[in-house]
Protein backbone atom coordinates (compact mmCIF):
# COMPACT_ATOMS: atom_id res chain seq x y z
CA UNK A 1 0.00 0.00 0.00
CA UNK A 2 1.31 3.44 -0.92
CA UNK A 3 2.49 5.42 2.10
CA UNK A 4 0.28 8.40 1.16
CA UNK A 5 -2.84 6.22 1.18
CA UNK A 6 -1.81 4.60 4.48
CA UNK A 7 -1.32 8.02 6.06
CA UNK A 8 -4.72 9.24 4.84
CA UNK A 9 -6.41 6.12 6.15
CA UNK A 10 -4.70 6.29 9.53
CA UNK A 11 -5.24 10.01 10.18
CA UNK A 12 -8.72 10.00 8.65
CA UNK A 13 -9.69 6.91 10.60
CA UNK A 14 -8.42 8.22 13.93
CA UNK A 15 -10.07 11.62 13.46
CA UNK A 16 -13.38 10.13 12.37
CA UNK A 17 -13.57 7.60 15.20
CA UNK A 18 -12.63 10.14 17.87
CA UNK A 19 -15.17 12.72 16.61
CA UNK A 20 -17.86 10.05 16.51
CA UNK A 21 -17.09 8.91 20.07
CA UNK A 22 -17.24 12.47 21.34
CA UNK A 23 -20.52 13.19 19.53
CA UNK A 24 -22.00 10.00 21.00
CA UNK A 25 -21.35 11.41 24.46
CA UNK A 26 -18.57 8.95 25.28
CA UNK A 27 -16.19 11.58 26.64
CA UNK A 28 -17.87 11.80 30.04
CA UNK A 29 -15.64 11.49 33.08
CA UNK A 30 -16.18 8.79 35.67
CA UNK A 31 -18.20 9.74 38.72
CA UNK A 32 -17.97 8.28 42.20
CA UNK A 33 -21.55 7.85 43.48
CA UNK A 34 -20.53 7.74 47.14
CA UNK A 35 -17.67 7.28 49.56
CA UNK A 36 -17.84 3.50 49.26
CA UNK A 37 -17.28 3.76 45.50
CA UNK A 38 -14.28 6.02 46.12
CA UNK A 39 -12.88 3.57 48.68
CA UNK A 40 -13.31 0.73 46.19
CA UNK A 41 -11.59 2.77 43.47
CA UNK A 42 -8.70 3.27 45.91
CA UNK A 43 -8.64 -0.43 46.80
CA UNK A 44 -8.50 -1.28 43.09
CA UNK A 45 -5.05 0.32 43.02
CA UNK A 46 -3.79 -0.25 46.58
CA UNK A 47 -5.57 -3.35 47.84
CA UNK A 48 -3.35 -3.82 50.91
CA UNK A 49 -3.73 -0.27 52.20
CA UNK A 50 -7.47 0.34 52.52
CA UNK A 51 -9.07 3.76 52.81
CA UNK A 52 -9.71 4.79 56.41
CA UNK A 53 -11.34 8.10 55.54
CA UNK A 54 -12.85 9.37 52.29
CA UNK A 55 -13.67 12.96 51.42
CA UNK A 56 -15.65 13.04 48.21
CA UNK A 57 -15.63 16.28 46.27
CA UNK A 58 -19.01 17.85 45.67
CA UNK A 59 -19.30 16.97 41.99
CA UNK A 60 -18.34 13.34 42.79
CA UNK A 61 -15.44 13.26 40.33
CA UNK A 62 -12.61 12.86 42.82
CA UNK A 63 -11.93 11.86 46.40
CA UNK A 64 -9.29 12.54 48.98
CA UNK A 65 -8.28 9.33 50.73
CA UNK A 66 -6.63 8.77 54.08
CA UNK A 67 -4.94 5.43 54.73
CA UNK A 68 -2.60 4.01 57.33
CA UNK A 69 0.31 4.95 55.06
CA UNK A 70 -0.72 8.48 54.22
CA UNK A 71 -2.97 10.50 51.99
CA UNK A 72 -3.95 9.81 48.43
CA UNK A 73 -6.26 10.89 45.67
CA UNK A 74 -8.72 9.08 43.42
CA UNK A 75 -9.58 10.84 40.19
CA UNK A 76 -11.16 10.03 36.83
CA UNK A 77 -9.17 8.63 33.94
CA UNK A 78 -11.82 9.02 31.30
CA UNK A 79 -14.68 6.69 32.14
CA UNK A 80 -12.53 4.93 34.75
CA UNK A 81 -10.49 6.01 37.72
CA UNK A 82 -7.01 5.67 39.07
CA UNK A 83 -5.34 6.62 42.35
CA UNK A 84 -2.02 7.77 43.72
CA UNK A 85 -0.47 8.66 47.05
CA UNK A 86 0.20 12.36 47.47
CA UNK A 87 3.80 11.85 48.55
CA UNK A 88 5.91 14.65 47.09
CA UNK A 89 2.87 16.41 45.60
CA UNK A 90 2.96 20.09 44.70
CA UNK A 91 -0.46 21.70 44.75
CA UNK A 92 -1.47 24.83 42.82
CA UNK A 93 -4.80 26.67 42.69
CA UNK A 94 -6.39 26.99 39.24
CA UNK A 95 -9.47 28.79 37.93
CA UNK A 96 -11.49 25.59 38.19
CA UNK A 97 -10.00 23.97 41.27
CA UNK A 98 -6.55 22.55 41.93
CA UNK A 99 -3.66 21.18 39.97
CA UNK A 100 -1.56 18.49 41.61
CA UNK A 101 1.91 17.77 40.26
CA UNK A 102 3.28 14.39 41.29
CA UNK A 103 6.84 13.08 40.98
CA UNK A 104 5.43 10.19 38.94
CA UNK A 105 6.02 9.78 35.20
CA UNK A 106 2.81 7.76 34.90
CA UNK A 107 0.65 10.40 36.62
CA UNK A 108 2.47 13.71 36.41
CA UNK A 109 -0.47 16.13 36.62
CA UNK A 110 -3.94 15.89 38.09
CA UNK A 111 -6.45 18.64 37.37
CA UNK A 112 -9.22 18.62 39.96
CA UNK A 113 -12.42 20.55 39.34
CA UNK A 114 -13.53 21.75 42.75
CA UNK A 115 -15.92 24.26 44.24
CA UNK A 116 -14.13 27.42 45.49
CA UNK A 117 -14.41 26.40 49.15
CA UNK A 118 -13.12 22.90 48.37
CA UNK A 119 -10.22 24.36 46.41
CA UNK A 120 -9.44 26.50 49.45
CA UNK A 121 -9.70 23.70 52.02
CA UNK A 122 -8.28 20.66 50.20
CA UNK A 123 -4.60 21.71 50.11
CA UNK A 124 -4.54 21.82 53.92
CA UNK A 125 -6.26 18.44 54.10
CA UNK A 126 -3.78 16.98 51.62
CA UNK A 127 -0.78 18.20 53.55
CA UNK A 128 -2.15 17.33 57.02
CA UNK A 129 -0.29 14.33 58.47
CA UNK A 130 -2.39 11.16 58.22
Amino acid sequence: MALEILLILVFGGITGIVLLLHMLGLSARATLPDGAAAAKAWADEFADDPALEVILCRDHHAALITTARGRGIVWPMGADTTARYLTGARIYPTKTGLRIDLPDFTAPHIDLRLEPDEARDWPDLMEKPA
Binding site: M1, L9, G13, D80, L102, F105, I110
Partner: protein, 308 residues
Protein backbone atom coordinates in the same frame (compact mmCIF):
# COMPACT_ATOMS: atom_id res chain seq x y z
CA UNK B 1 18.31 -20.27 -2.52
CA UNK B 2 15.40 -17.82 -2.75
CA UNK B 3 16.86 -14.41 -1.96
CA UNK B 4 14.18 -12.11 -3.34
CA UNK B 5 10.73 -12.97 -2.10
CA UNK B 6 7.94 -10.59 -1.22
CA UNK B 7 4.57 -10.93 0.41
CA UNK B 8 1.90 -8.26 0.84
CA UNK B 9 2.24 -5.96 3.87
CA UNK B 10 -0.89 -7.45 5.39
CA UNK B 11 -1.07 -5.28 8.50
CA UNK B 12 -1.15 -2.15 6.31
CA UNK B 13 -3.72 -3.63 3.93
CA UNK B 14 -5.89 -4.47 6.94
CA UNK B 15 -6.16 -0.84 8.13
CA UNK B 16 -9.50 -0.16 6.34
CA UNK B 17 -10.85 -3.39 7.84
CA UNK B 18 -9.70 -2.32 11.31
CA UNK B 19 -11.52 1.01 10.96
CA UNK B 20 -14.70 -0.64 9.66
CA UNK B 21 -14.66 -3.25 12.43
CA UNK B 22 -14.18 -0.61 15.14
CA UNK B 23 -17.15 1.34 13.77
CA UNK B 24 -19.24 -1.83 13.64
CA UNK B 25 -18.35 -2.75 17.24
CA UNK B 26 -19.09 0.78 18.42
CA UNK B 27 -22.43 0.77 16.64
CA UNK B 28 -23.29 -2.60 18.19
CA UNK B 29 -22.44 -1.37 21.70
CA UNK B 30 -24.39 1.88 21.28
CA UNK B 31 -27.47 0.18 19.82
CA UNK B 32 -27.52 -2.91 22.04
CA UNK B 33 -26.23 -1.11 25.15
CA UNK B 34 -24.03 -4.09 25.96
CA UNK B 35 -20.94 -5.85 24.66
CA UNK B 36 -18.28 -3.44 25.85
CA UNK B 37 -17.37 0.16 26.52
CA UNK B 38 -15.72 2.98 24.59
CA UNK B 39 -14.29 6.25 25.89
CA UNK B 40 -12.93 9.01 23.68
CA UNK B 41 -9.52 9.70 25.18
CA UNK B 42 -8.80 6.05 25.84
CA UNK B 43 -9.62 5.18 22.25
CA UNK B 44 -7.59 8.10 20.92
CA UNK B 45 -4.55 6.95 22.89
CA UNK B 46 -4.96 3.39 21.63
CA UNK B 47 -5.27 4.55 18.01
CA UNK B 48 -2.24 6.84 18.28
CA UNK B 49 -0.25 3.95 19.77
CA UNK B 50 -1.31 1.87 16.76
CA UNK B 51 -0.25 4.57 14.31
CA UNK B 52 3.05 4.93 16.16
CA UNK B 53 3.60 1.19 15.94
CA UNK B 54 3.22 1.34 12.15
CA UNK B 55 5.62 4.31 12.02
CA UNK B 56 8.14 2.49 14.23
CA UNK B 57 7.97 -0.60 12.02
CA UNK B 58 8.60 1.53 8.92
CA UNK B 59 11.50 3.40 10.58
CA UNK B 60 13.14 0.52 12.49
CA UNK B 61 12.00 -2.53 10.54
CA UNK B 62 15.27 -2.62 8.65
CA UNK B 63 17.10 -3.76 11.81
CA UNK B 64 15.13 -7.00 12.18
CA UNK B 65 15.07 -7.46 8.40
CA UNK B 66 18.86 -7.05 8.19
CA UNK B 67 19.33 -9.54 11.04
CA UNK B 68 17.08 -12.11 9.35
CA UNK B 69 18.79 -11.67 5.97
CA UNK B 70 22.19 -12.29 7.57
CA UNK B 71 20.81 -15.54 9.03
CA UNK B 72 19.26 -16.39 5.66
CA UNK B 73 22.64 -15.96 4.00
CA UNK B 74 24.21 -18.25 6.58
CA UNK B 75 21.72 -21.13 6.54
CA UNK B 76 22.14 -23.89 3.96
CA UNK B 77 18.42 -24.75 4.29
CA UNK B 78 15.62 -23.47 2.06
CA UNK B 79 12.19 -24.99 2.49
CA UNK B 80 10.76 -23.17 -0.50
CA UNK B 81 7.50 -21.29 -0.78
CA UNK B 82 4.79 -23.92 -1.13
CA UNK B 83 1.47 -23.41 0.61
CA UNK B 84 2.27 -26.26 3.01
CA UNK B 85 5.50 -24.55 4.03
CA UNK B 86 3.67 -21.26 4.59
CA UNK B 87 1.12 -23.11 6.77
CA UNK B 88 3.89 -24.80 8.76
CA UNK B 89 5.67 -21.47 9.11
CA UNK B 90 2.43 -19.91 10.42
CA UNK B 91 2.02 -22.58 13.11
CA UNK B 92 5.68 -22.45 14.19
CA UNK B 93 5.64 -18.65 14.18
CA UNK B 94 2.61 -18.80 16.45
CA UNK B 95 4.65 -20.96 18.83
CA UNK B 96 7.35 -18.30 18.57
CA UNK B 97 4.70 -15.67 19.40
CA UNK B 98 3.62 -17.60 22.49
CA UNK B 99 7.14 -17.55 23.93
CA UNK B 100 7.88 -13.94 22.99
CA UNK B 101 4.59 -12.97 24.60
CA UNK B 102 5.37 -15.02 27.70
CA UNK B 103 8.80 -13.38 27.94
CA UNK B 104 6.94 -10.09 27.49
CA UNK B 105 5.16 -10.68 30.78
CA UNK B 106 7.95 -12.39 32.72
CA UNK B 107 11.03 -10.32 31.77
CA UNK B 108 10.79 -6.66 32.66
CA UNK B 109 13.00 -5.60 29.73
CA UNK B 110 10.44 -7.06 27.35
CA UNK B 111 7.49 -5.99 29.50
CA UNK B 112 8.70 -2.39 29.12
CA UNK B 113 7.76 -2.67 25.47
CA UNK B 114 4.58 -4.72 25.89
CA UNK B 115 3.10 -2.94 28.93
CA UNK B 116 1.43 -0.27 26.81
CA UNK B 117 -0.81 -2.92 25.22
CA UNK B 118 -2.24 -3.63 28.67
CA UNK B 119 -2.48 -0.03 29.80
CA UNK B 120 -6.11 0.56 28.82
CA UNK B 121 -8.86 -0.07 31.34
CA UNK B 122 -11.11 -0.78 28.38
CA UNK B 123 -11.25 -3.86 26.20
CA UNK B 124 -12.48 -3.15 22.72
CA UNK B 125 -11.12 -3.30 19.19
CA UNK B 126 -9.10 -0.12 19.66
CA UNK B 127 -7.25 -1.87 22.50
CA UNK B 128 -5.96 -4.35 19.90
CA UNK B 129 -4.22 -1.46 18.15
CA UNK B 130 -2.57 -0.16 21.34
CA UNK B 131 0.75 -1.58 20.25
CA UNK B 132 4.37 -1.01 21.19
CA UNK B 133 6.70 1.55 19.67
CA UNK B 134 9.80 -0.03 21.17
CA UNK B 135 9.60 -3.70 20.21
CA UNK B 136 12.88 -3.56 18.31
CA UNK B 137 14.77 -2.65 21.50
CA UNK B 138 13.68 -5.83 23.27
CA UNK B 139 15.77 -7.86 20.78
CA UNK B 140 13.03 -10.49 20.72
CA UNK B 141 13.72 -10.85 17.01
CA UNK B 142 16.24 -13.43 18.19
CA UNK B 143 13.38 -15.82 18.98
CA UNK B 144 12.55 -15.85 15.26
CA UNK B 145 16.10 -16.83 14.34
CA UNK B 146 15.47 -20.61 14.47
CA UNK B 147 12.69 -20.28 11.90
CA UNK B 148 14.99 -18.55 9.42
CA UNK B 149 17.83 -20.97 10.14
CA UNK B 150 15.44 -23.88 9.52
CA UNK B 151 14.86 -22.58 6.01
CA UNK B 152 11.77 -20.40 6.21
CA UNK B 153 12.41 -17.26 4.18
CA UNK B 154 12.45 -14.06 6.30
CA UNK B 155 9.71 -12.52 4.13
CA UNK B 156 7.51 -15.55 4.79
CA UNK B 157 8.22 -15.42 8.53
CA UNK B 158 7.25 -11.73 8.70
CA UNK B 159 4.18 -12.38 6.51
CA UNK B 160 3.02 -15.08 8.93
CA UNK B 161 3.70 -12.74 11.87
CA UNK B 162 1.50 -10.13 10.21
CA UNK B 163 -1.31 -12.63 9.71
CA UNK B 164 -0.94 -13.59 13.36
CA UNK B 165 -1.43 -9.98 14.47
CA UNK B 166 -4.45 -9.57 12.20
CA UNK B 167 -6.02 -12.68 13.71
CA UNK B 168 -5.54 -11.22 17.17
CA UNK B 169 -7.41 -8.02 16.29
CA UNK B 170 -10.91 -9.50 16.45
CA UNK B 171 -10.40 -11.19 19.82
CA UNK B 172 -10.11 -7.82 21.60
CA UNK B 173 -13.81 -7.47 22.17
CA UNK B 174 -16.48 -7.98 24.81
CA UNK B 175 -19.17 -8.06 22.13
CA UNK B 176 -18.55 -11.78 21.57
CA UNK B 177 -19.18 -14.13 24.50
CA UNK B 178 -17.92 -17.63 23.87
CA UNK B 179 -17.36 -19.38 20.55
CA UNK B 180 -18.36 -23.03 19.88
CA UNK B 181 -16.61 -25.49 22.21
CA UNK B 182 -14.38 -27.02 19.54
CA UNK B 183 -13.20 -23.53 18.56
CA UNK B 184 -12.53 -22.50 22.16
CA UNK B 185 -10.52 -25.71 22.59
CA UNK B 186 -8.08 -25.01 19.78
CA UNK B 187 -8.14 -21.33 18.91
CA UNK B 188 -7.50 -18.15 20.84
CA UNK B 189 -10.84 -16.42 21.31
CA UNK B 190 -12.26 -13.21 22.80
CA UNK B 191 -13.00 -15.12 26.02
CA UNK B 192 -9.46 -16.51 26.35
CA UNK B 193 -7.88 -13.17 25.53
CA UNK B 194 -10.11 -11.22 27.92
CA UNK B 195 -8.52 -13.35 30.63
CA UNK B 196 -5.08 -12.35 29.37
CA UNK B 197 -5.97 -8.66 29.75
CA UNK B 198 -7.31 -9.12 33.28
CA UNK B 199 -5.63 -7.50 36.29
CA UNK B 200 -7.50 -9.85 38.65
CA UNK B 201 -5.02 -11.93 40.64
CA UNK B 202 -6.49 -15.08 39.07
CA UNK B 203 -5.88 -13.92 35.53
CA UNK B 204 -2.32 -12.55 35.81
CA UNK B 205 0.24 -14.28 33.56
CA UNK B 206 -2.27 -16.43 31.69
CA UNK B 207 -3.26 -17.13 28.09
CA UNK B 208 -0.26 -15.91 26.13
CA UNK B 209 -1.45 -17.45 22.87
CA UNK B 210 -1.62 -15.58 19.61
CA UNK B 211 -3.74 -17.76 17.35
CA UNK B 212 -3.75 -21.27 18.85
CA UNK B 213 -4.67 -21.55 22.54
CA UNK B 214 -3.17 -25.05 22.52
CA UNK B 215 0.24 -23.59 23.48
CA UNK B 216 -1.18 -22.37 26.81
CA UNK B 217 -2.80 -25.73 27.39
CA UNK B 218 0.50 -27.47 26.58
CA UNK B 219 2.72 -25.22 28.70
CA UNK B 220 0.39 -24.89 31.70
CA UNK B 221 -0.57 -21.22 31.39
CA UNK B 222 -4.21 -21.64 30.35
CA UNK B 223 -6.89 -20.09 32.57
CA UNK B 224 -10.54 -20.07 31.50
CA UNK B 225 -12.76 -17.03 31.86
CA UNK B 226 -14.96 -17.60 34.90
CA UNK B 227 -18.44 -16.13 35.17
CA UNK B 228 -18.02 -15.44 38.89
CA UNK B 229 -14.73 -13.58 38.45
CA UNK B 230 -15.48 -10.82 35.95
CA UNK B 231 -12.39 -9.59 34.17
CA UNK B 232 -11.09 -6.23 35.39
CA UNK B 233 -8.98 -4.76 32.59
CA UNK B 234 -5.79 -2.75 32.84
CA UNK B 235 -2.56 -2.75 34.80
CA UNK B 236 -2.06 -3.72 38.44
CA UNK B 237 -1.34 0.00 38.94
CA UNK B 238 -3.24 1.87 36.27
CA UNK B 239 -1.71 4.83 34.50
CA UNK B 240 -2.79 8.36 35.35
CA UNK B 241 -2.14 9.76 31.89
CA UNK B 242 -3.38 9.38 28.33
CA UNK B 243 -0.20 10.92 26.90
CA UNK B 244 1.04 8.40 24.28
CA UNK B 245 4.70 9.29 24.92
CA UNK B 246 4.30 8.46 28.61
CA UNK B 247 2.34 5.30 27.74
CA UNK B 248 5.07 4.19 25.35
CA UNK B 249 8.11 4.90 27.48
CA UNK B 250 7.08 4.83 31.16
CA UNK B 251 8.38 1.37 31.98
CA UNK B 252 11.68 2.00 30.19
CA UNK B 253 12.12 5.08 32.35
CA UNK B 254 11.18 3.01 35.41
CA UNK B 255 13.92 0.51 34.59
CA UNK B 256 16.42 3.31 34.04
CA UNK B 257 15.59 4.89 37.41
CA UNK B 258 15.69 1.56 39.26
CA UNK B 259 19.00 0.50 37.75
CA UNK B 260 20.60 3.85 38.67
CA UNK B 261 19.68 3.62 42.36
CA UNK B 262 22.79 4.01 44.51
CA UNK B 263 24.16 1.13 46.52
CA UNK B 264 22.89 -1.76 44.40
CA UNK B 265 24.99 -4.76 43.43
CA UNK B 266 25.48 -5.61 39.77
CA UNK B 267 23.14 -8.58 40.19
CA UNK B 268 20.42 -6.34 41.62
CA UNK B 269 20.78 -3.92 38.71
CA UNK B 270 20.46 -6.79 36.26
CA UNK B 271 17.44 -8.13 38.13
CA UNK B 272 15.69 -4.77 37.71
CA UNK B 273 16.04 -5.34 33.96
CA UNK B 274 15.49 -9.06 33.64
CA UNK B 275 13.40 -10.25 36.60
CA UNK B 276 9.60 -10.35 36.35
CA UNK B 277 7.79 -7.00 36.57
CA UNK B 278 7.28 -5.99 40.20
CA UNK B 279 10.61 -7.41 41.40
CA UNK B 280 12.50 -5.09 43.76
CA UNK B 281 15.72 -5.52 45.68
CA UNK B 282 14.03 -4.64 49.00
CA UNK B 283 10.77 -6.49 48.46
CA UNK B 284 8.80 -3.25 48.47
CA UNK B 285 6.85 -4.17 45.33
CA UNK B 286 4.79 -7.15 44.29
CA UNK B 287 5.36 -9.52 41.39
CA UNK B 288 2.36 -11.35 39.97
CA UNK B 289 3.33 -14.35 42.08
CA UNK B 290 3.26 -12.24 45.25
CA UNK B 291 -0.11 -10.77 44.24
CA UNK B 292 -1.53 -14.28 43.83
CA UNK B 293 -0.12 -15.33 47.23
CA UNK B 294 -1.66 -12.29 48.90
CA UNK B 295 -4.99 -13.00 47.23
CA UNK B 296 -4.94 -16.60 48.48
CA UNK B 297 -4.05 -15.45 51.99
CA UNK B 298 -7.25 -13.39 51.99
CA UNK B 299 -9.31 -15.83 49.91
CA UNK B 300 -8.13 -19.35 50.82
CA UNK B 301 -11.25 -20.84 49.20
CA UNK B 302 -9.75 -19.94 45.79
CA UNK B 303 -6.75 -22.26 46.26
CA UNK B 304 -6.67 -24.92 43.56
CA UNK B 305 -9.10 -23.09 41.30
CA UNK B 306 -7.98 -21.94 37.82
CA UNK B 307 -5.21 -19.37 37.98
CA UNK B 308 -4.14 -20.29 41.53
Amino acid sequence: MTDMLSYPEVTHIAVPFFIAAILAELLWIVIKRRGGRYETRDALTSLIMGAGNVAASILLGFIAWGFFMVLWALTPLDLGTSLGVVALCFVLDDLRYYWVHRFGHRIRWVWASHVNHHSSQHYNLTTALRQTWTGTFTLMMIVRAPLVLLGFHPAMVLFCGGLNLIYQFWIHTEAIGKMPKWFEAVMNTPSHHRVHHGRNARYLDANYAGVFIIWDRMFGTFVPELEDDKVDYGLVHNLGTFNPLRVAFHEWLGIFRDVRQPGLSLRQRLMYMLAPPGWSHDGSRDTSRAIKHKHLAQNPQDAGTPGF
